[in-house]
């Protein structure tokens, strides 16, 4: 059965390693923070200028001066720090952040990503996404396998204006975990109960399928 958004987040959380600094984008990526595996410690960075984000504040304790990049009220953990936007992107551009998780409208088999602009529609801007994808060594895209029109978002080539080129390493959708290398998608895992055939059918890009594709282990 295809995963829900929390399932995608849970699978991505398995990629976290002890001691990593992680930047989570808006949407599904934000949910990753809820599934940090036992026994490891990670710190969350938000590009508006905070390291060491904690959970949302209790009702009535929100501080308008303390938000994340999604403009949500947050709290901080012990050991947190605040800094300006230039320093924040120094962390990102300088590759001090070990993992970036973000959503996408399209991903191509050479690792291009499009997630900021649909021509003809209102353009809201790229925010920090272009800096994040151009800089991060390790980018995981969290998204649905197809768009609302039922078209694959896992493509030979992106059709929308790009956010970054050749940068995505891994994609986790409600159906599959795929790695991008040598200009192709490699199917690593399938969601519990989802068939390889279904994944192939819903993927437009070139997909390398090994003989055995294990199911994700989400326990």
């Amino acid at each position: 059965m295809a995963l829900d958004k929390n399932g995608i987040a849970k699978r991505i959380a398995q990629e976290l390693q002890d001691g990593w600094y992680v930047n989570l984008g808006i949407g599904i990526p934000t949910l990753v923070a809820n599934y940090i595996p036992e026994g490891i410690e990670v710190e969350f960075q938000s590009e508006n200028g905070v390291l060491g984000m904690g959970p949302f504040p209790f009702d009535g304790e929100e501080d308008p001066d303390l938000i994340n990049a999604g403009k949500q009220t947050i709290t901080t953990r012990d050991g947190a720090s605040f800094f300006d936007s230039a320093t924040s992107f120094a962390m990102i551009r300088g590759q001090h952040v070990q993992l970036t998780v973000l959503g996408a409208m399209e991903v191509s088999q050479n690792g291009d990503i499009a997630n900021w602009k649909i021509p003809g529609k209102m353009v809201k801007g790229m925010g920090g996404a272009m800096d994040l994808v151009a800089s991060a060594e390790n980018i995981i895209v969290a998204m649905m396998h197809r768009n609302k029109a039922g078209e694959s978002k896992i493509l030979k080539a992106c059709t929308l204006p790009l956010t970054g080129v050749g940068c995505v390493k891994k994609v986790v959708t409600e159906l599959a975990v795929m790695e991008i290398k040598e200009g192709k998608f490699y199917l690593l895992e399938r969601a519990p109960g989802v068939s390889v055939e279904e994944i192939i059918a819903k993927t437009e890009g070139d997909l390398v399928v090994p003989d055995i594709v294990p199911e994700m282990n989400l326990n």
Partner: protein, 232 residues
Amino acid sequence: MNKVVKNPALALAGITDGMTLMVGGFGLCGIPENSIAQLVQMGVKNLTCISNNAGVDDFGLGLLLQGKQVKKMISSYVGENDEFERQMLSGELEVGLIPQGSLAERCRAGGAGIPAFFTPAGYGTEVAEGKEVRMFNGKPHILESALTADYAIVKAWKGDTEGNLIYKATARNFNPMMAMAGKITIAEVEELVPAGTLDPNQIHTPGIFVQRIFKGEKFEKRIEQRTVRPKN
């Protein structure tokens, strides 16, 4: 070196039609509310505003948009703002979109006398159009130039009479770099104290970057996305 002015009107004196302003803040967090209100009252027009966001319809820079005071917005993320959208789609408002990290670094560069620098952000996208590309460490980078402004308007938590500033939490954001990049920098603060009160070790923006400072009359500090857990 006393830089205190009595009110927003004196602080913003000299801002005229057609000028370029940097305005601090991220979303509605850390924006110079009192100065924006004063800009509305002054009615200056044809402004170019460099600010990470454009506020919401009825708060922040949205107030300047309502009065059609802005000719061009230079930002990384806009929207959350119907009037903005209307003006942009109708062509009344020019919009220049810049990756957020490049925007921050370009402001810092403007303040630091660095006229241009290379960054990987935006390579291969429309942001890179017309810009020089060069390889460093096997990776393509684009050349970005410094940004400066006629006036930078920033908001701090505490400030002293010499213009030294301390920001609070994530209300810091773009304020420090913009303070550096303004030909004239105006700071509005929640708390204004005599020089010598703040610990010199804890100053975020040294007074050299600030020309005028005033205590804001009131701060609404509107929250854009209130997210909470229930108390149990």
